[in-house]
């Protein structure tokens, strides 16, 4: 037995997966320290699902290997399956079973004590706000409810490691927020999480570390903050209220922001700046009675990061 925290809970070592001539995953390595969240970010076809399937023993790597809670995914698949839960990309609930039956089936398969199975199903249903729908067949569930049931099913054995493949794809903003809340709760309780996503915002919101993957390769990694820094400094954005102020504002702003960009249609100036220049500008504009709709510092989004790393936007590639 290794003491906790001695080694990362999830570790991928040079994972490669080829389908015929096509290399879906190309020498991917990463580590997820115990209790942290890794976001695997990439567009459609990047190789996210294939990576998750290899790590969760569903498909063997062409080469390379991985470890979950110290167990080798190739040599000890049974131990790996006991240590992790998986919520796959397409919800894998049984549509003809009720929510309760779904959870009890999984608990039975784990061999959880009969008595405990009963209360466990109730607890999970409660936790995922499915109590009212517990005895309805899953076919009648909405997309968000199915997702929650699927996640609940992955948590039946309270695994220390959880894999989530695009957990919020297809959910409306509110359901997404709710699911994020649940995931934050799990992390707080000590679960180690690997989640894939196409939403830059999601990685930004949940992940401690992010790996950007494109065409099977890791093209960048770091904290969300580090990745943002890579795509340049923060930008100051000023939106004027009145178009007639534009010439005067242009003169004033040029003095503070040398590389000033003007988008006349929306009365918006922008350019690289820091926090200090906001104050200077704000008082300058006020002195000249130039009204603004908005004035602020815009940090680059992970979207910008993706653009600067790959030359295309994540959402574009997704189409």
């Amino acid at each position: 037995m290794t003491p906790p925290n001695a080694s990362p809970t999830i570790e991928a070592i040079d994972l490669v997966k080829t389908f015929g001539d096509m290399t879906a995953v190309d020498r991917v390595s990463f580590q997820v320290p115990t209790g942290s969240v890794l976001g695997l970010l990439g567009p459609n076809g990047a190789g996210k699902t294939t990576t998750v399937r290899m790590m969760t023993t569903l498909t063997p790597p062409t080469s390379g290997t991985g470890r979950i809670a110290g167990h080798d995914i190739i040599k000890e698949p049974a131990a790996v399956r006991r240590s992790m839960g998986l919520t796959a990309q397409s919800a894998t609930v049984d549509e003809l079973l009720t929510g309760r039956e779904n959870l009890r089936l999984i608990a039975d398969l784990y061999g959880i004590d009969k008595q405990r199975t009963r209360s466990l199903a109730d607890e999970l249903l409660e936790r995922f706000s499915l109590t009212d729908a517990a005895d309805k067949v899953a076919k009648q569930y909405s997309g968000g409810m199915r997702r929650r049931l699927d996640l609940a099913a992955s948590l039946v054995a309270a695994p220390p490691v959880l894999f989530l493949d695009e957990p919020t794809t297809g959910l409306d903003p509110r359901s997404r927020q709710e699911l994020w809340e649940v995931l934050r709760g799990l992390v707080k309780e000590g679960t180690t999480l690997l989640l894939t996503t196409q939403y830059l915002e999601e990685a930004d919101n949940l992940a401690d570390n992010v790996i950007v993957i494109d065409k099977g390769r890791i093209i960048a990694e770091g904290t969300p903050l580090q990745l943002k820094d890579r795509s340049g400094a923060a930008r100051l954005v000023v939106t004027l209220s009145r178009p007639e102020d534009i010439p005067q504002a242009h003169e004033l702003l040029k003095g503070v922001i040398p590389e000033l960009h003007l988008d006349e249609d929306v009365r918006q100036f922008s350019g690289p700046a820091d926090l200090a220049s906001i104050n200077t500008l704000a008082s300058l504009l006020a002195d000249h009675e130039i009204e603004v709709d908005d004035l602020g510092l815009k940090r680059p989004s992970l979207d910008d990061v993706f653009l600067s790393l790959t030359g295309h936007r994540a959402e574009e590639a997704a189409k």
């Binding site: 969760t56 063997p60 049974a78 006991r82 998986l86 397409s90 003809l96 039956e101 398969l109 959880i112």
Partner: protein, 264 residues
Amino acid sequence: MSASFGRQIRSLVRRNLIHIKRQPEALTDVTIQPVMFVLLFAYVFGGSINIPGGSYREWLLPGIMAQTMAFSSFVVAIGLNNDLQKGIIDRFRSLPIHRPSVLLARAISSVMHSSIGIVVMSLTGLIVGWRIHEGVGKALLAYLLLLLFGFAMIWIGILVGSSMDSPEAVNGVMFATMFPITFLANTFAPPEGMPTFVRVIAEWNPISALVQAMRELWGNTGNFPTPEAWPLQHPVLVSIGWSVLISVVVAPMALRAYNRRTTN
């Protein structure tokens, strides 16, 4: 923390049976359909087929039983394909369960499904005048041969279910193959009247040996002379042989197809 093999299989079988309960229309293949066949053949075509010293209805019933059992491969194939399609199999495979549990449970619930058909057929038979004229031992042997044949059909079901992309494709393939196979036999009419080429196929058809065996073991042959074709002269042994042969040949192919489908 891993359930015993037995509990895993029980849970999965229960799950498959709940599916039948929630979708009773899935049972038409072992209820309405064979009953229709009995009525159609017994009352519509029955008059034109003469069984010397016996009744066509008695003679017909083992044929329809075998056909019903052959169609149990449908049941396996569709159920499995549905699970593969919906990703449930992936969920099961990510759990620490014994590898063969899922397929075994599928096989067991399919046999139970088909057994409903055997019961329905036997009852329908009794109503239209079918009787068992031989002893209990022989009668049971006939039912056992039928179940053994059903076991062989399971492998075909797993093979087709794992190879096809959708339940619709499964239906198409099974309908286009199993249907003619069950007709190119002695199920509904004696092969003696068929053109030579078709007759030879019918005589060697695994279903014919099974049907002939059941007819003899239940005493449903009337005064029909024993057919001259070798397989039909030793129907019990040949039927066992066919079921074993089909299992031995198809099982590895089926498992390979299933593994390829699930590990990719």
